[in-house]
């Protein structure tokens, strides 16, 4: 496969192969997203869609308190979930990468990923069972005499949503950080120690900066899907933990107002994209 003619043949073969999955993604991802963008500029007129271009949906979404509250809360909860998940995940990834024997690493990763693959709905529901007023945690703590009355701040509010989502997204945060840590040349750490840094400073001046690509990956892969999570806020969030996805679902399936639902979905997506881009940009500047 040498020479310019071979290369173009290679390129053609590659394009032919990739065209099927690529076209599929265009048809079922790019075009539908184009469709919701279009819908967000239209309006629902009883059973008909009024296709005159208007910004009314955006005006409504950005002026009604309920939409702003839900959108703002979704962003805040997603941010907290991201921080909690990534901070909790880092030591695990670090432990598996630096302290577990190479032959046992994959069994650890396997153990970490198994809970993620088991029924999501049932897992979220079980957090309700754990965190509830008569839940496992409260009964346990009461029996142990640690608390006198059941804790109520852990269910049907944003805390419950954070705990549950930090659980649900754990492997998503651990794996990218683990991969980044694995790539670190161990001799760099020795060099740092030889040059007089201690354990702490070596970690902060060598390990952490080198692991940053993994941390950035973990942050994005947790933050972006979290904002659209529907099951967790519905099951454990209560009224104080409701997020934008509930409203999107209501607009689409109950109020039959697809254009407003589409607008809310786009606003959620825009906020996520803006925050993610800002984060990546800040990170680049800070690392350079």
């Amino acid at each position: 496969m040498a020479g310019s003619r071979g290369l173009s043949q290679d390129a053609r073969a590659g394009l032919a192969l990739v065209s099927a999955p690529f076209l599929y993604a265009v048809l079922l991802l790019a075009l539908p997203i184009g469709a919701i963008i279009l819908f967000s500029f239209w309006t629902q007129d009883f059973l008909e869609i009024d296709t005159t271009f208007t910004l009314n949906n955006y005006r409504e979404a950005l002026s009604e308190q309920i939409y702003l509250t839900l959108l703002g809360r979704s962003v805040v909860i997603a941010l907290i979930v991201t921080v909690v998940t990534v901070v909790l995940a880092f030591p695990i990834a670090y432990y598996v990468s630096f302290y577990v024997q190479p032959s046992r690493k994959s069994i650890w990763l396997f153990l970490i990923t198994i809970p993620f693959w088991t029924s999501y709905l049932v897992r979220v529901f079980l957090w309700k069972v754990i965190l509830g007023f008569n839940g496992v945690l409260n009964t346990g703590l009461l029996n142990l005499g640690i608390i006198d009355e059941p804790l109520t701040f852990i269910l049907y509010n944003a805390n419950a949503v954070v705990i549950t989502l930090a659980h649900a997204f754990a492997p998503f945060a651990i794996l990218p950080i683990f991969v980044a840590l694995e790539k670190i040349d161990r001799s760099l750490l020795e060099a740092s120690r030889d040059l007089g840094e201690n354990r702490m400073t070596t970690f902060f001046r060598v390990t952490l900066p080198l692991a940053m690509p993994g941390v950035v990956g973990a942050v994005l892969i947790v933050f972006i899907p979290t904002i659209g999570d529907y099951v967790t806020p519905r099951l454990v969030g209560g009224p104080e933990g409701a997020m934008i996805s509930t409203m999107i679902q209501t607009q689409f399936l109950r109020l039959n107002n697809a254009p407003l639902g589409a607008t809310l979905a786009i606003l959620a997506m825009l906020s996520v994209t803006a925050i993610s881009l800002a984060f990546v940009w800040l990170n680049r500047r800070w690392l350079r």
């Binding site: 290369l7 390129a11 053609r12 073969a13 590659g14 394009l15 192969l17 990739v18 099927a20 999955p21 690529f22 599929y24 993604a25 265009v26 079922l28 991802l29 790019a30 539908p32 997203i33 469709a35 919701i36 819908f39 030591p91 695990i92 670090y94 432990y95 302290y99 994959s106 396997f110 153990l111 990923t113 198994i114 809970p115 693959w117 029924s119 999501y120 709905l121 049932v122 897992r123 529901f125 079980l126 957090w127 754990i130 008569n134 839940g135 496992v136 492997p171 794996l175 694995e182 994005l220 972006i224 899907p225 904002i227 529907y230 996805s245 689409f252 697809a258 639902g261 979905a265 959620a268």
Partner: protein
């Protein structure tokens, strides 16, 4: 090191807490999902056998999951083979775009396809709309797994087969495919598991026939049905653990065949 180890074990307990509770409540005789336990019983499993609507939902989900897994694996094979063997203009961008569903909130996929199927194409919703969407979200996972199987696969083996008189396709089918077949099995199993468990897209896109997760969602609203959900959850966890162990076994065998060192999990 020791504190880190204790932390790691604590973290695993946090990860496994919900799953450990599942069988405890599934075999508990009480109607209420709480401690103290009421004694051992298998009646909730027996009750599962009597809910015929649930059986239909399970069959529906199996149909959707099998087809989505097959379609996603075929698309994944194309992309992984192209990505590991060929170079073309805009390669990174095109492959990156195919991976987008991995990070996109699922509700966005759900509502955008809902608009397309119902409002624009006006073809209504059926199992096929869910299959189309599940294929889309499973493909990136298949690509990630199959990339591992294709990477470092020595191209000279296929060339040797062609020198010995096989056609390009023949060489691919007789030489490459067997070498990556463990990766294919693993990719099929993972996408099957994802599709079987996926809720939000199925919730928006199911027509008259709910999938299993959509049916479970309905059950969660009725306190009387919760113990049955626990029993069903126990069965599901057992099945997915078996599937995952099998997938992991094939993934490792694939890596061993390609002569690679094992570096980690599925993702």
């Amino acid at each position: 090191m020791n504190t880190l180890r204790i932390y790691a074990i604590g973290y695993l307990i946090f990860l496994y807490a919900p799953i450990v509770l599942l069988p405890i409540f599934a075999f508990n005789d009480g109607q209420i999902i709480a401690f103290p336990l009421q004694g051992f019983s298998t009646r909730w499993f027996a009750e599962l056998m009597t809910i015929t609507a649930l059986h239909d939902a399970v069959l529906n989900s199996l149909f959707i999951a099998v087809l989505s897994a097959v379609f996603a694996t075929i698309l994944g094979l194309c992309a992984a083979r192209a990505g590991t063997r060929h170079k073309w203009p805009f390669k990174k961008g095109m492959l990156g775009f195919i991976m987008v569903p991995l990070v996109l909130p699922e509700i966005i996929v759900a509502v955008s396809l809902l608009i397309v199927f119902v409002q624009i194409l006006d073809i209504g919703l059926s199992n096929w709309s869910i299959i189309a969407a599940h294929t889309l979200i499973c493909t990136p996972f298949c690509i990630a797994i199959l990339n591992g199987a294709f990477a470092n696969l020595d191209p000279s083996m296929e060339e040797a087969a062609m020198d010995l008189g096989e056609s390009r396709w023949g060489a691919f089918v007789k030489v490459t495919l067997p070498l990556v077949s463990p990766g294919i099995v693993s990719s099929l199993l993972i996408s099957f598991t994802i599709s079987l468990d996926e809720f939000i897209i199925a919730f928006f896109l199911s027509g008259a026939n709910p999938t299993m997760p959509v049916y479970i969602w309905g059950m969660l609203r009725f306190p009387g049905q919760l113990p049955a959900v626990m029993a069903l959850g126990t069965i599901l966890v057992t099945v997915s653990v078996i599937l995952l162990v099998t997938a992991e076994y094939f993934r490792r065998r694939g890596l061993a065949r390609a002569g690679l060192k094992d570096t980690g999990g599925f993702l």
